[in-house]
Amino acid sequence: MSDIKFTIDGKECTAKSGQTIVEAAKANGIYIPVLCHFDGLKPAGTCRICTVKTGGRFMAGCTTPVAEGMRIDNMTPEIEDMRKQIIEMLFVEGNHMCPVCEKSGNCELQALAYRYKMMVPRFPFLWPKREVVANAPKLYLDKNRCVQCLRCVREIITTDGKNVFAVKERGGKTTINMDEKLAAGLSDDMAMRAMDICPVGCIIRKEVGYKVPIGQRKFDSKPIGSEIEGR
C-alpha cells in the first residue's frame, strides 16, 4: 500500500497515492481535527479546521492530496491556536446554546470546543437572527446552530437526484436552506441520516428526540479524536 512517504510533525508516514492529508494522517494514527469533512463524502473544505502547513503554506488537509516527500506541520502552537480561532468563530457566528440542544454530547462542534479547551470565545458574539423551520413533517431545522459544513447538501439527495439542502445568500448572511416539499418526501431512513450526518444540532429528526440520554452519548465518555489517537 505504501507508495508515498511523507512526515507529519517529524513522524515518518506512508500513504496511498490519491489520499488526502486528512485520510493519510488517520491511516497513520494521527488525528487532524475535522468538522465539515465526513468519510465517504466529497471534501468541501468549508470549515478550515483541518488546516496544516506544508512548504511554508497553509492548506486544508481534507482537500489537499498528500504528495511524496511532503513535510506537514500539524500540532504546532501556531496552527492549534488558529484552529481554536475557527471553533470560536463558529460559536460567535451562530447562536449555540448547548444545554438546551438535543445534540449535546453528540455534537462535534461542542466536542472540539472541549478538546481545544475553549472557555469563552475571544471574539464578540454576533447574535445573528436566524430562522427555525418547524413546519416540515420529518425534520426540524434550527439555523441558529448551523456551521455551514455542507454535509447535508452533499449527502441528502432525492432518488431522482434533487438537492434537499442548499445554501442561500452570501457573506455574513449565508445560511442553509431546506426544500420543505422534498424534505417531507424523504424516507424515514434518509431523514434520520440527515440528522446523523449533521455535526451539530441544526438538523433534528422529529418524533425520536432524546432516544439516547445525555450522559451516554458519543463524546460524553471519550473525547473527539481519541478513536484515532488511541489506536
Partner: protein, 603 residues
C-alpha cells in the same frame, strides 16, 4: 399567478431548460416581473426540474437578482470608496428627494427603486449609477432631478441619456455617456492594430510555437495574480481531452479597476483575436467571454463585433483561414458578484450556479468549464497575446523589469486631475505616475485595489511590477483631506458582503474585523484591539480558501503597517479595556418618554 407561470415558461423554454443557463433564465424572469419571488423560484424549479433551494441559492447570491421588487426603474448607485469621495451620498439624497423613497426601498407606486451597489467600473467618472442596465456618470443634483423627472414621465432608460462619451461610446450599439479617458497609450495595447493580422500569423505557426512565443515573452496574467500565461496554455494543451475551452475573464470587479471597460469599447477585436490565438494554442474550438453584469450596456455591441469577425473569417469555420481550425466565441453575463473574478468561481457562475470558488486540485487546466480542460485568462492578457504574436516574444520581453515584462494598463482614479487609463511600462514608480495623473498632493495610494496595499508617501518611490508593488490595474489616489479609516471601512464592508460565505475564516473573520474596526473608529479601542486586529488579519489571510479571503484583510493589515498613527490617534491610551456600551445612548429614548434626565453616574 397565471401570468407569472406563463412568463417563467417562456423564459425557461428560451434556454431549452438548460440548468447551465440558470442566470439567463433568472435575469429574464426578473426583467419581466420586476422581481424573482418565492412563487417564481418554485415555478422555475418545477419547470427546469431542479430543487427550489438551488434556484433560490442562485437568486440570492447575485447582487442584481432580487426576491423583492426592484422597481420599474431600478437605480443602482455605486457607493464604493471613490464614488463616496466624489459625493455619492449627496447624489443619494438628491435621488431620495426626487423619487420620494429611501435607498433600499421602492417608491410607493412601484416605479422607482433605489439601491446601492459595489464598484461598477466607472471610477474615473463618479458618482455613477446603473439604471435598467444603462450607465449614468458624473452625476450632479441637477442631473438627478432631470433623470428622475424623465423616469416619472415613463421614458425608456436609454432615451434619458442626453450626452455621449468619446470614441466608440458614441456608436449606435453603445450610445453611452461613458468616457474612455485614455490618458497614456503604450506600445502593446494602444498601438495601432490591424484586425485579423495576429490570428493570421498565429495559425501560420504550430500551437507549440505559439506557446513558445508566449513563454519567451514571459507574459504574466494581467488580472493581478500574475501566473505565466504561456505555462497556463501549455498545461491546458497537455491536459488529456478532446473538448477544451478558452475563457476570458471579463469580470473586473476590484474596486478602482475599469481598464477592461475601455478594452471592450475600443479594442475588442484585439481581445477576441487573443482568445482565438489561445484557443488555437490549447486546442479549443469554443471560447467564452464572461462579462460582468455591470457591463451589460456593452453586450449588443460586443455581439456585433463577434458577428463581424465571423463575416471576416477571423472566427467560425476555418478561423483565420486555417483549414480545420473551427473556433467561435459566446458571451456569458454575470450578475453582480466580485468573487466571480476568481477563475474557478467564474466557471461555476458560467455553468449557471452560485459563484463559489472550487477546491484545487483539480485546476481548471485539468477540469474547468463543464468539467473540460479550460484556460481562464484576463482581458488584457488576451490583448497582449495578440501583440506578442505580431511582434514576437523577445520584443515584448525587452520592456519592463526582470520579473514583469511588457506594459500594464492602469485604471487611475481618486484625487488626481487626470483620472483614466494609463498604459505604462512595468517598473514605473508611484511618484512618476502621480506626476502624470496630477495627483501630486496624495497622502496615500491604494495600489491593486482593496485587496492590494495602501502605501504612504515614504513608499512612492516603489515600482509598479510583480516584484515590488503588484497590481491588477487599480490605482486609487487618496488626497490630503481624506479620512483613510473611512476608506478602509468602505473596503471592509465591501469584502464582508462579497465573501461567498463558503469558508469560515472569510465568512466570519471579515465580519469580526469590520466590527473591530468600527469599535476603534468610534473611539472605544485600546492597544489590545489593534493587536487583536493584526492577529485576526493573519488568521483570515492564512486560513481562507481562495484569493478573496486571503487578501480581504489587506485594507486593515496594510494601513496598520503604513498608517499606524491614525489608528493610535483613535484609541484610548493606557487603558486595558474600554466598554463599547454607551449607557447614556441606550437609555436616551426611554428617558425622553418618561421625561427624566438619564442618571448614568458610575457607568
Amino acid at each position: 399567478m397565471g401570468n407569472m407561470s406563463e412568463v417563467v415558461k417562456k423564459c425557461v423554454n428560451n434556454y431549452q431548460k438548460d440548468p447551465a443557463r440558470m442566470l439567463d433564465v433568472i435575469r429574464d424572469v426578473q426583467a419581466e416581473l420586476g422581481q424573482v419571488s418565492d412563487a417564481a423560484i418554485s415555478e422555475i424549479a418545477g419547470q427546469m426540474n431542479v430543487s427550489s433551494v438551488d434556484v433560490e441559492g442562485v437568486v440570492t447570491f447575485y447582487h442584481f437578482f432580487s426576491k423583492d421588487p426592484v422597481g420599474q426603474y431600478s437605480v443602482y448607485l455605486n457607493n464604493s470608496a471613490v464614488s463616496v469621495m466624489m459625493g455619492c451620498y449627496e447624489i443619494a439624497k438628491a435621488f431620495e428627494k426626487e423619487a420620494g423613497c429611501k435607498f433600499g426601498e421602492v417608491s410607493s407606486d412601484g416605479k422607482i427603486g433605489l439601491h446601492y451597489t459595489a464598484d461598477i467600473g466607472m471610477n474615473d467618472q463618479e458618482p455613477a449609477a446603473i439604471i435598467n442596465g444603462v450607465i449614468f456618470t458624473s452625476l450632479t443634483a441637477d442631473k438627478v432631478k432631470a433623470i428622475v423627472a424623465d423616469m416619472k414621465s415613463g421614458k425608456a432608460a436609454r432615451d434619458i441619456v442626453k450626452e455621449f462619451g468619446d470614441g466608440k461610446n458614441q456608436s449606435e450599439l453603445i450610445k453611452s455617456m461613458v468616457k474612455n479617458n485614455i490618458q497614456k497609450k503604450g506600445a502593446v495595447l494602444f498601438a495601432p492594430f490591424s484586425p485579423g493580422s495576429a490570428l493570421n500569423k498565429a495559425v501560420s505557426m504550430t500551437p507549440d510555437e505559439v506557446i513558445e512565443q508566449m513563454k519567451i515573452s514571459n507574459l504574466r496574467g494581467r488580472g493581478g495574480a500574475g501566473f505565466p500565461t504561456g505555462m497556463k496554455w501549455d498545461y491546458t494543451r497537455q491536459s488529456p481531452g478532446e473538448k477544451k475551452y478558452i475563457v476570458c475573464n471579463g469580470d473586473e470587479g476590484e474596486p478602482g479597476t475599469f481598464k477592461d471597460r475601455v478594452i471592450f469599447t475600443e479594442i475588442p477585436e484585439m481581445m477576441f483575436e487573443g482568445m482565438a490565438i489561445g484557443g488555437y494554442a490549447i486546442g479549443a474550438d469554443e471560447g467564452l467571454l464572461y462579462l460582468r453584469g455591470e457591463y451589460m450596456y456593452l453586450k449588443t455591441y460586443l455581439e456585433d463585433v463577434l458577428s463581424k469577425m465571423r463575416q471576416a473569417g477571423t472566427l467560425g469555420k476555418n478561423a483565420g483561414g486555417k483549414q480545420g481550425f473551427n473556433f467561435d466565441i459566446k458571451i456569458k453575463m454575470g450578475a453582480g458578484a466580485y468573487v466571480c473574478g476568481e477563475e474557478s468561481a467564474l466557471i461555476e457562475s458560467a455553468e449557471g450556479k452560485r459563484g463559489e470558488p472550487r477546491n484545487r486540485p483539480p485546476f481548471p487546466a485539468q477540469r474547468g468549464y463543464m468539467g473540460k480542460p479550460t484556460s481562464v485568462n484576463n482581458v488584457e492578457s488576451f490583448c497582449s497575446a495578440s501583440r506578442i504574436i505580431l511582434e514576437g516574444g523577445e520584443w515584448f520581453a525587452k520592456m519592463g523589469t526582470a520579473q514583469s515584462r511588457g506594459t500594464k494598463l492602469l485604471s487611475v482614479s481618486g484625487d488626481c486631475k487626470k483620472p483614466g487609463i494609463y498604459e505604462i511600462e512595468f517598473g514605473t514608480t508611484i511618484q512618476t505616475l502621480l506626476e502624470e495623473c496630477e495627483g501630486r498632493t496624495a497622502k496615500a495610494v491604494q495600489v491593486g485595489g482593496p485587496s492590494g496595499s495602501c502605501v504612504d508617501k515614504t513608499k512612492f518611490g516603489q515600482r509598479i511590477c510583480y516584484d515590488d508593488l503588484a497590481t491588477g490595474g487599480s490605482i486609487i489616489v487618496i488626497g490630503q483631506d481624506r479620512d483613510i479609516l473611512q476608506v478602509v471601512h468602505n473596503f471592509m464592508e465591501f469584502f464582508e458582503e462579497e465573501s461567498c460565505g463558503w469558508c469560515t475564516p472569510c465568512r466570519v473573520g471579515n465580519q469580526l474585523l469590520l466590527h473591530k474596526l468600527e469599535k476603534v473608529m468610534h473611539g472605544h479601542g485600546t492597544e489590545a484591539d489593534l493587536k487583536d486586529m493584526e492577529q485576526w488579519c493573519v488568521t483570515v489571510k492564512s486560513m481562507s480558501r481562495c484569493g478573496l479571503g486571503q487578501t480581504s484583510p489587506n485594507p486593515i493589515y496594510t494601513t496598520l503597517k503604513n498608517f499606524r498613527g491614525i489608528y493610535e490617534a483613535k484609541i484610548q491610551k493606557g487603558k486595558d479595556f474600554v466598554s463599547e456600551f454607551d449607557m447614556a445612548a441606550a437609555v436616551k429614548d426611554s428617558c425622553a418618554v418618561a421625561g427624566r434626565k438619564p442618571n448614568v453616574e458610575g457607568h
